[in-house]
Symmetry: C2
Subunit: 295 residues, 2 copies
């Protein structure tokens, strides 16, 4: 049994006669006749009844065709996999990302992607969000990880949500589990001057009708964590940026939660290469990269 025979059977049933099926398949009528005869000989049952009226399925032919259709569908899936592989072969994928997403989100995703497509060359550039946008615009980057929302020149999908947390230095008594604005009001804050975090925090405070004292505005997340550990102030920054958090620092949620949305962006006007599409599937856990759930 081969795929051609199943295609012949399917087309004969669809067209009604061997002659019309032959035209459709671009082979001779005798090739169609012999393909069907060979299949019937192999299986040992008549699949079609035929005569001057053309050809119609027998009852067992109907049941066989049901399965045959599924096999033809699977052949299309195989062709898809194969064409995907051919499209990806020796292609490349250029990713840009701001630092904490580059450090904490991308490595696992890239590993997973390359497990399936080892021939794709992946590059990862660490840029601030404005740099990521620029690199997308200049065609230097295929996929950029940036905070959302973004302008309409980009197509975006949400990848993760990253909560802003309060880092507090170790003191004689630990801070309460749930902070209030009153707990925070006497504190001096170190803000994270990167990836629009400072403006997000200030906007959030304003929106909550609160005010706070800014002690420092620092670009390096690791420096901020160290300063908190040394008792120089409290900090507010995204959890991913704070990682890894040393023992000498408490982590608490804000009284009113704030999160940033991390998205994957592509340039809206650029058609996606197969590698880009596949990696977007990894990031959003779709298609073959859907999360395995217990059956």
């Amino acid at each position: 049994m081969n795929i051609f025979q199943l295609e012949v059977l399917s087309t004969v049933v669809e067209r009604g006669t061997f002659s019309d099926a032959a035209l459709d398949l671009e082979v001779s009528q005798s090739a169609v006749s012999r393909a069907i005869a060979a299949l019937e000989a192999e299986l040992g049952v008549p699949l079609l009844s035929r005569g001057r009226f053309g050809a119609k399925l027998t009852p067992v032919g109907e049941r066989v065709l049901n399965h045959a259709h599924k096999m033809l569908d699977l052949k299309e899936h195989i062709d898809y996999e194969v064409n995907l592989e051919k499209g990806l072969y020796h292609s490349r994928l250029r990713i840009s990302s701001f630092r904490s997403a580059a450090t904490h989100l991308l490595p696992a995703s890239i590993a997973r992607f390359r497990q399936q497509f080892p021939s794709v060359e992946v590059t990862l550039s660490e840029l601030d969000p404005a740099g990521v946008e620029q690199s997308l615009r200049e065609g230097q980057t295929d996929i950029g990880l940036i905070p959302l929302p973004r302008s309409e020149e980009f197509n975006t999908i949400e990848i993760a949500r990253d909560e802003y947390v309060v880092l507090l230095p170790k003191t004689d008594s630990p801070p309460p589990k749930n902070l209030t604005w009153e707990d925070l009001s006497p504190l001096s804050f170190i803000l994270f001057n990167y990836a629009e975090c400072t403006s997000a925090v200030k906007g959030h405070w304003a929106q909550c009708g609160q005010s706070f004292e800014v002690g420092y505005v620092i670009k390096e997340d690791s420096t901020i964590v160290s300063m908190v550990a040394q008792g120089l102030g409290a900090a507010v920054l995204p959890r991913l940026a704070a990682l890894p958090i040393p023992d000498g620092v408490y982590v608490r949620s804000l009284p009113t939660r704030l999160s940033r949305i991390i998205g994957a962006a592509t340039l809206a006007t650029t058609p996606h290469a197969p590698a880009v599409k596949m990696f977007l599937d990894v990031l959003s856990q779709k298609g073959m990269f859907a999360h395995q759930t217990q059956a």
Copy 2:
């Protein structure tokens, strides 16, 4: 692409080497090598990486094999259908049934069965339940429809439940929708002397602590229905036996419901021929005869 190539691919992966796969498949090692090479040439991608260590799937090979396994499963389904057809061809199915099941239940089932297996010769004998049992014992019947329960010499499956109803003649005022034992106590009843109905009804009355007057005991269900229509009494009999019920007769449920179970029986000691198995599936709406539900 053909089934043999998919079997080769599957076996190579399972066995680890072309040489071991060749032994398994009872072909030469070079036949295995060329089958794989032909498949890779047709698809245009390498499915296996191989050398002195044997053969391992490439990533695209894994994805292709996933679909290939499903195709091999479908081939087994096709083989099953085909073997089933061969087993059934020119076989026969002998059914015996008591009258109302023969009249009302079997025709649709037999039609459905023969639509799929037109080559099976079906015979239907109408016998009372004792006659059905005897015919099964004597090997003259493959499947018998009889009321349940039955002795352990038979394997049985429940096919339907058939409610005993009260038939009442048309009078100046219609009977209440829900009859009470008081409503029934002044009536004279015509009982159905067939398929253990009389004993079932008497047993039910006794179990409910009631008594009733028996006017007639009649064997013909159509005669009973006519007598009720003529005002000669009320009747208690299974609904299927009463069909078709003319306009001049009211139908009501008993105050305490009574149903008979109609079952399909086969002789416990006899292995089932394929036609018997398939028809039991029709009756119990299993396998390929499962009820279609909206998706």
